[in-house]
């Protein structure tokens, strides 16, 4: 089985085929709220929980706040800016919280599969058949609940080595699990095609505040603006992509929500920005660049192998 770096191969930034986004956009921006469900009492083989004998009520309550209150405050700002999101969805939210499901479907958001509960370890620990069945049942349940196809996947630390092969085989078009680039990248899989649409551990509201980190959203605003400025500049030469990661249980608090308005106001002030979903970015990339980029990366790897010196230009 290929390693993650073998799957994406190498393609130095300065030797790639030119990437042109629709309508001459320099930068594609996608916003991904993580709409999650934490078990009050997680199962024994739980993921990402503290060692407090469950329930860990303070941790549970912060996450529950996100669905009761934070989601709705976040929604108001996203609506003001008419943002179509890509939701990183714990599927159990759709089953248990019909109001949230309806709000997301009314806005025709796209969805990226982020497990059933955020406190469950799957697909980690599953054998290959069970893992395949896990993704298949997610697609089936999602289709039954929403009438929409599920095209994306995001498992980060829960992801397995086999994930890209298995999800490509089942019809997912992209994963948002890696942080390797400022452009989408073809992922080598056993069968079919799969795009990596890079996620962010940097422009991520939760990662600024979790683990006792000393940042608040003034810093989030600053790094999002700075990130945008540079990607917008580089995007004049070849298209770039920017991912903004949100959690209703972080950004939805009253002392944080104004930051989201500030970020979106800033990026929307610019021309030539493509506000897209990850589904749209992956689809466009598959149609226009996937094959060319894969061929380029393959030529590059061959060049390295034959010359064992400097890369071909």
């Amino acid at each position: 089985m290929l390693s993650p770096l073998q799957r994406i191969g190498d393609a130095p930034w300065n030797h790639r085929p030119h990437l042109a986004w629709p309508n001459g956009a320099r930068t594609a921006i996608w916003v991904i709220p993580n709409v999650e469900l934490y078990d009050y009492v997680p199962p024994a083989e739980a993921f990402g929980v503290t060692t407090i004998p469950p329930p860990d009520l303070p941790s549970y309550c912060v996450r529950d706040y996100g669905n009761r209150v934070g989601f709705w405050r976040m929604l108001e700002v996203l609506d003001q800016h008419q943002i179509r999101c890509t939701v990183n969805i714990n599927l159990a939210v759709l089953e248990h919280f019909p109001h949230i499901k309806a709000a997301m479907l009314d806005r025709d958001w796209d969805f990226c599969f982020h497990g059933f509960y955020n406190t469950r370890a799957e697909p980690r620990g599953l054998d290959e058949d069970a893992e395949r069945a896990f993704y298949r049942s997610a697609r089936e349940r999602f289709a039954a609940l929403t009438g929409k196809p599920l095209r994306g996947i995001n498992f980060l630390r829960r992801a397995t080595a086999a994930l890209p092969d298995l999800v490509a085989e089942l019809g997912f078009t992209y994963h948002a699990d890696w942080f390797h680039d400022d452009q989408p990248t073809p992922v080598r899989v056993a069968r079919g095609r799969l795009v990596s649409v890079p996620y962010s551990v940097e422009l991520n509201d939760a990662l600024l505040v979790l683990f006792d980190r000393p940042y608040e959203m003034d810093y989030f605003v600053q790094i999002c603006k700075d990130q945008f400025d540079r990607l917008y500049r580089d995007g004049a030469e070849s298209g770039t992509v920017m991912c903004v990661v949100l959690h209703p249980w972080v950004i939805g608090y009253p002392h944080r929500i104004n930051a989201l308005d500030e970020i979106l106001t800033y990026v929307k002030r610019h021309e030539d920005v493509w506000l897209a979903t990850a589904d749209e970015i992956a689809a466009y990339y598959l149609d226009h660049y996937y094959d060319a980029m894969l061929a380029h990366a393959t030529r590059f790897a061959d060049g390295i192998a034959t010359q064992s010196a400097h890369p071909p230009s």
Partner: protein, 297 residues
Amino acid sequence: MTHVVPEAPYCAWSPITERRFGWPNGARVAVCFVVSLGYYDELGPDGGVESPTPGGAIQVTSYPDYPTVTHRAYGHRVGIFRLIQLFDAHAVSPTVAIDAETARQYPWLVAECIRRGWEIVAHGVSQRRPITSALSEDVERRYIGEAVAALTDAGVDRPAGWLGPQGHESHRTPRLLAEAGLRYVCDWANDEQPYRLQTPAGDVVAVPLMTELSDAGLHWTRRVPIARWAALVKEAFDVLWRDGATQGRLLALPLHPWCIGQPFRVKYLEEVVRHVAGRDGVWIASAREVANALPAA
């Protein structure tokens, strides 16, 4: 794969936008200052745990832990008096959570609160002995009883509220609180309005604290500078006030005298009090008044 229903027992779920909740006096925002007078044992109990933040690490310190114990004692010896002075000056009545060890060892602090008519909330036995599901039901029942009895022994008339040390509970705590005759609980920091926890022993009203804005969490643990803390609390208030145009919101602010009562910090609390007090549409309420504002089921 089995899927248990995720909702915590007792805890009815609804999105805030589906409700039509109003404060009895038409206020947009109820502000409740919740001061924690919590005692830090010199020696942690066997199996004791500390978890300062969601996702935080377990920390069990060895004896003698001079830094923590003396730093927290500062709050009981000095810091609380700066807060008393500040609240008196602004004619604001906070809610004070007092644990059993504090009530037994610092009865004069309980008396100061009683004399001012401040709401006193039972706060467990001590801060290094939080409730968890590792306790048996009998032990937990006795624990709650001990916390309430220590307050009544110190002269508190029928305590009605509960705040667990560090906000921790077992899966059975709301029921045991109802059995003990307590009427509201401040452990469920998941909302901006009071709501009802329904237990087989009767209802307990959840009065959610804004724990993300706690001086101890945001500033001391996470090290966000104190001036920024004050700015964030004021920003939160302004947003709640705006959102309070359609239905009532709650800002229940957790405060710790060992932290915010330090000489260089207390002026930032004054900044917050000045910002919220005297504004139109603001109700400075006690936790009991917040709980009582919830219409009968």
